[in-house]
């Protein structure tokens, strides 16, 4: 076991200092992150980069108020200075000396992985070149290829006066391919990526050539695309095309920070039918290797599987420590932060719709006219109204129950509770995909998943009347 980021006796002294002016809880979050990345663009490895970030964020909670300070100085003196800054919010001065003690440090179960830091740079660069070659081999219309590789190892330590004392060690690896295809109608783009909470062994299973060809064909296919329709139509979403639908349609609205502030359309609806009975939605930070995984969240809570909607009925929200405390309950393991420089907030991990039983091909065959979305490109929600968008990056018209003409990219717009009620079929071909979720200026890796499903009607924001 690696030596701790901060020794227990130092943590005890720093936390005592943090509570010297009073307060209910003090916490040290320390992080040591090393990153490596490389970009191949225009046939050249333009940039190899490595980064190192190390520091600690200290928070002190006094009533409804949180004091927070962070420092890149992990020495005892540096930590004490940050603790004093964080404690400045406590004005009572009645805290006095408080002895702080912790349990033994908990660490994640050991995992077998090929640490990216141990992999020679030429082996990583070879992946980029192979992806570039494969993408360009798809056709002469592929005029530009950019391949990005990145890995990170993030060690975190959380210690609090609530008796938390844990360390986690998170390794993530990703590779993405973006292609530009050029034709008579202009340029189109295609994107595909793999991103896993795993080491370099991910490339033993996944051939980068396959990713590259998918990205290239996606760009190529859209050269002959027609404008997407405008107005409401049935939509079939392909399995694994991007569970962003649920991430945006209800995931954000179920985050307890929006709930406790009465800023979500899902406030007060636990126990009510909020979706079609075909919808069972889960947020699970434990699923092997997915992009939104971790052993402990950034407040030291073990990651968990949380059922949010069961058979269409809302069962619970997502909680971090602060919001759970307000309601006198436990965190659901969803307190996350971008880095030690940020306060934790409620975040999703891997959010997915449980698979159904239908045949995906049948769903299309039973749809006389509509849009088939093979790949989504992200989305956004207004949690106060529940209105959300998600964009297509590969979509087709469905005519007479058959997938026909490719469509240009467009956003689809709907209202969360309304659209969740319009899901009338879920197939058995479950798939996940990675994404980056932004909230309050913080980005974290998340996973999304779903099987092929149909929405009876949603507004498609194209230009074709």
């Amino acid at each position: 076991m690696a030596s701790p980021l901060i020794e227990a006796d130092v943590l005890e002294r720093v936390l005592s200092k943090a509570l010297v002016k009073g307060g209910e809880m003090a916490e040290v979050f320390a992080e040591d992150r090393r990153t490596g990345s490389a970009v191949l663009d225009d046939r050249k490895v333009e940039e190899l980069s490595s980064g190192r970030e190390r520091g600690a964020g200290i928070r002190v909670v006094v009533g409804e108020t949180t004091g927070f300070a962070h420092t890149a100085d992990l020495s005892e003196a540096g930590l004490v200075a940050a603790a004093e800054a964080a404690a400045a919010v406590a004005r009572s001065g009645g805290g006095g000396t408080r002895t702080v003690g912790f349990p033994q440090r908990s660490t994640p179960p050991p995992r077998e992985l090929v640490a990216p830091a141990d992999v020679d740079k030429p082996r990583k660069l070879e992946l980029l070149n192979r992806a570039d070659d494969a993408a360009r081999s798809v056709g002469g219309s592929i005029t530009q290829v950019q391949v990005g590789y990145g890995d990170s190892r993030r060690r975190i330590l959380v210690a609090s006066t609530d008796g938390i004392h844990v360390e986690d060690d998170q390794t993530r690896t990703r590779l993405s391919v973006q292609c530009v295809a050029t034709g008579d109608t202009g340029m189109q783009t295609g994107y595909e990526s793999v991103a896993r909470t795993e080491g370099f062994e991910v490339f033993d299973r996944i051939a980068v050539e396959d990713l590259a060809r998918v990205a290239a064909n996606r760009a190529l296919g859209k050269l002959s695309a027609r404008p997407a329709p405008s107005g409401e139509l049935p939509v079939v979403l392909a399995g694994g095309s991007g569970g962003f639908l649920f991430h945006e349609a209800c995931g954000h609205g179920l985050e307890a920070d929006h709930i406790v502030k009465d800023a979500s359309v899902y406030v007060g609806r636990v126990g009510e039918l909020v979706a079609s009975p075909l919808v069972t939605l889960v947020d699970d930070g434990t699923v092997g290797g997915e992009w939104g995984n971790f052993a402990f969240d950034d407040e030291g809570k073990p990651s968990a599987r949380n059922v949010l909607i069961r058979d269409g009925v809302l069962t619970d929200y997502l909680w971090d420590w602060l919001r759970a405390r307000k309601e006198g309950r436990a965190s659901s393991g969803n307190g996350r932060r971008q880095s030690y420089q940020h306060l934790p907030i409620v975040r999703m991990t891997n959010t997915f719709l449980m698979a159904g039983t239908e045949d995906p091909d049948e769903l299309v065959a039973q749809t006389p006219r509509g849009v088939y979305v093979a790949k989504l490109g992200g989305g956004q929600v207004n949690t106060a109204t529940g209105d959300f968008v998600f964009g297509t990056s590969e979509a087709y018209l469905i005519e007479d129950g058959r997938i026909t003409a490719p469509l240009r990219d467009a956003n689809l717009i709907g209202n969360g509770p309304d659209i969740l009620g319009r899901i009338d079929a879920v197939a058995d071909d479950f798939g996940m995909m990675p994404g980056t979720c932004g909230k309050d200026g913080q980005s974290v890796p998340v996973g999304c998943g779903q099987a092929t499903l149909r929405i009876t009607g949603i507004t498609i924001g194209g230009t074709a009347a």
Binding site: T65, H70, V381, T385, G391, D409, A410, N411, I413, G461
Partner: protein, 452 residues
């Protein structure tokens, strides 16, 4: 001389024969106060510092090779390790004859004073009081405001030193203060959120009245919003939306995107790409611009670049490397996302030449159309390579030249190319906003509204 410049010069002094080094050293101080429900929800303060090092190995016959490393620390041993990591990375990169660091080009930096010392001098208690006062003010501003989920004050002081073995020495510093709030207006089951904000160089320049007025207006006027009927019509974009859209247009005007075949503007210099009312400048030397700067991210002086004049595309923005690829010179347009990022091309202060009318007059001229207050889905629905454009909107219909019923759960779509050629009015209500572009009201004809 700044201690940061001393550190940057120490870094580049590590250069060996056959290599050039560039060091970017930054330090920031931040304070943030969040008020909620009459209380301080959180108070954060921090000092951050870091270094980004680029090493260019110039010895190879096929051209130089470039490596980069960064660290979130200014400790000498960490900085020394960062130089080694950058040098090691360079050894594996592809040689490329176009790679080079900036060299002084004789353009003098604008004399900009972007530092308001009061940001560091105003007591924290006053900053807390401002956030609490804003929250209180918003809660009582209108009986329909039923929640104020956030009312925040934030400020920053940033210092940057850049030095290179190719003769660059650039030190700059700036301050910023921000006030923002969100209000939720509700009637029955209907809820709408509105955000207001104010930005300034210092504490004194902030305008809480304006934050409150905007948040209230933007939330309450959406009450009763319905899904509109699909139509092809003229869309009047609010200033904030225009600022976002100009940011996207400016990405397509990046010389790097152009030389790599990733911009729909490529090869169109001299062509009429927009209507005659469209004249676009990137001018980081204008001190009113939120991202005004004396130096670009490679240490060259920022300068005024005229990009589109009366609708005719005149040129693009370049940093050193993209300029060499294109056979031209840098326009002083290198940007980077702090010490952890490498330079790339970007605009800082894009602004449209103002027209003659204010927002009200433009509505009168348009008569029938849609006023868009805010958009969502820019990331998923606007493609600066293909130009495809589709975003979720909320706003109000314009009937008989006036704001009419509010609408939501709709999209507007076109292509960026067609939108530029369909600009019918540019407002005179120019406002500098956070981000890379100023905002003013703009009306664009022939857009597809998708609703019922």
């Amino acid at each position: 001389m700044s201690d940061l410049m001393t550190l940057a010069e120490r870094v580049i002094s590590a250069a060996r024969g056959g290599e050039e080094i560039e060091a970017y050293v930054a330090r920031g101080h931040d304070v943030e106060v969040c008020a909620y429900d009459g209380d301080v929800e959180s108070l954060s303060s921090a000092t951050t510092g870091g270094v980004g090092v680029r090493v260019l190995l110039t010895g190879g016959a096929e051209g130089p090779r470039l490596g980069f490393a960064w660290a979130g620390s200014l400790e000498p041993e960490v900085v020394a390790e960062t130089v080694l990591a950058a040098r090691d990375n360079a050894a594996f990169a592809t040689p490329d004859a176009h790679l080079a660091f900036a060299t002084p080009d004789g353009v003098d930096p604008a004399g900009l004073d972007l530092w308001d010392p009061t940001v560091g001098e105003v007591p924290t208690d006053d900053k807390v009081a401002l956030a609490l006062d804003l929250e209180r003010r918003l809660r009582s501003a209108d009986r329909r405001i039923r929640q104020v989920p956030s009312a925040d004050y934030a400020d920053e002081r940033v210092e940057v030193a850049l030095a290179s073995t190719t003769g660059i020495r650039a030190f700059s510093r700036r301050t910023g203060a921000y006030l923002s709030a969100a209000a939720i207006a509700g009637e029955g089951a209907d809820s709408h959120i509105g955000v207001g904000f104010s930005v300034a160089r210092g504490f004194e320049g902030l305008d809480p009245d304006r934050v409150s007025t905007e948040a209230v207006e933007r939330s309450t006027r959406m009450l009763g919003a319905v899904k509109p009927t699909s139509d092809r019509l003229t869309v009047i974009f609010d200033r904030r939306v225009v600022s976002t859209l100009l940011g996207i247009i400016s990405a397509a005007l990046s010389g790097e995107a152009v030389v790599k075949g990733r911009s729909f503007f490529a090869g169109r210099t001299g062509e009429q790409v927009a209507t005659e009312s469209f004249t676009l400048v990137d001018d980081p030397t204008d001190p009113r611009a939120f991202r005004a700067s004396a130096y670009d991210a490679e240490g060259l002086a920022c300068r005024r670049n005229l990009l589109v004049e009366s609708g005719v595309l005149l040129g693009f923005l370049y940093d050193t490397v993209s300029a060499r690829r294109a056979g031209t010179v840098s326009t002083g347009s290198a940007v980077r996302g702090g010490y952890a990022g490498t330079p790339g091309v970007g605009a800082r202060a894009v602004v449209l030449a103002p027209g003659d009318q204010d927002q009200g007059a433009i509505m009168s001229l348009v008569g029938e159309g849609l006023f868009v207050q805010s958009i969502i889905g820019v990331h998923s629905g606007v493609n600066p390579v293909s130009g495809d454009f589709s975003v979720g909107v909320e706003g109000l219909m314009v009937r008989d030249g006036r704001l009419a019923e509010p609408v939501r759960e709709a999209t507007v779509a076109s292509t960026l190319q067609r939108m530029l050629l369909s600009v019918v009015h540019v407002g005179n209500d120019l406002e500098w906003l956070p981000g890379v572009a100023a905002g003013q009201t703009v009306a664009v004809g022939d857009m597809q509204l998708s609703g019922n």
